[in-house]
């Protein structure tokens, strides 16, 4: 559907705003390595979809393993979120945002955050 201005958007569209393809990830807040939580396998699929997990395996487990932790850390780096390797609130807020379907990483590599250099000045 196309809307020419915001006033033509029906109220239902506003009510549905919080419904996202990835809204279930919100309940994973606070998960950490060693835990097994329903929904983590879906999150692993998300990270594979965008290139953060490169395995061809389809049957992901709900274990918070090293592979997931590594994927989260790389994701946090790419989106300028403090790198903790944990599913903290700021990381989940970013994950559930609508986004481009192209992967951030291809064949396990990414230059997404490579071009950013910080200059320091000696006083």
């Amino acid at each position: 559907k196309f809307y020419t201005n915001i006033s033509s958007v029906p109220p239902l569209q506003f009510l549905n705003a919080s419904r996202s393809a990835w809204e279930t990830f919100g309940k994973l807040a606070g998960c950490h390595v060693g835990e097994k939580v329903d929904g983590l396998s879906k999150l692993k699929h998300y990270f594979r979809r965008f290139g953060y997990i490169s395995t061809a395996v389809d049957n992901f487990t709900d274990d918070f393993d090293d592979v997931l932790q590594s994927a989260i850390s790389t994701y946090q780096k790419n989106f300028n979120i403090k790198v903790t390797g944990k599913l903290d609130a700021s990381t989940l807020r970013q994950i559930v945002k609508p986004r481009c379907g192209n992967p951030d990483m291809i064949d396990g590599t990414s230059e997404m955050n490579a071009g950013k250099k910080f200059r320091t000045t000696e006083r």
Partner: protein
């Protein structure tokens, strides 16, 4: 900014690119004008020109709205989630999720409404995907067009310095323009590209 592996780009002989819309979508002229504006933003800072074609066969870039599985192995997922995807050069495949509610207005939405709307600004997504069609990957610079995420209702259509630097690595600047960097939005973080302007 980043590039696809191998840094693919349109060949030197291809500076005039044509684009066509999938006829089954029956898009109005108003919607097509949104894409024309998006192409213009990239044309202003590169030597590339974009022309609309009525022929799918002859067009370099084909634009279409699709839902769910649509034949390229990258199914869309309904409202929100993934919004669109595009191929690297020289494939020219630009797909948008037909399940989204697209806003085609040029006006910015009130910040009061922003957090509660699931409507997505079409031109913002179009400018981003055209970046992919020309060879850019995603950027970590949040102000950049090539940043991968956009909030519902947000509108971001002006190329940032990061976008312009990236695209000009691939194609150089517009010989008839100022390179775009004078008028580009300043991005935070002090990004450096090492490119000699």
């Amino acid at each position: 900014y980043s590039f696809f592996p191998g840094k693919p780009r349109w060949p030197n002989r291809k500076r005039d690119l044509s684009y066509a819309f999938v006829p089954q979508n029956n898009l109005t002229d108003e919607v097509k004008r949104v894409f024309a504006r998006a192409f213009t933003r990239w044309a202003e800072v590169t030597p590339l020109n974009f022309t609309r074609s009525e022929s799918l066969v002859d067009a370099d870039i084909v634009i279409g709205f699709f839902t769910g599985e649509h034949g390229d192995g990258e199914p869309f997922d309904g409202a929100m989630g993934t919004l669109a995807h595009a191929s690297s050069p020289p494939t020219g495949m630009f797909h948008l999720d037909g399940d989204e509610d697209w806003l085609i207005s040029e006006t910015k939405i009130s910040r009061r409404i922003l957090p509660v709307t699931s409507v997505v600004d079409l031109e913002s997504v179009a400018v981003h995907e055209i970046g992919h069609l020309l060879g850019l990957g995603h950027s970590s610079v949040e102000d950049a067009i090539m940043y991968p995420a956009i909030s519902g209702g947000d509108r971001k259509v002006e190329l940032a310095r990061d976008d312009i630097e990236g695209i000009q690595v691939l194609y150089g600047g517009n010989p008839n323009g100022d390179g775009g960097l004078q008028t580009s939005r300043q991005t935070s973080g002090g990004a450096e590209s090492g490119v000699d302007w």
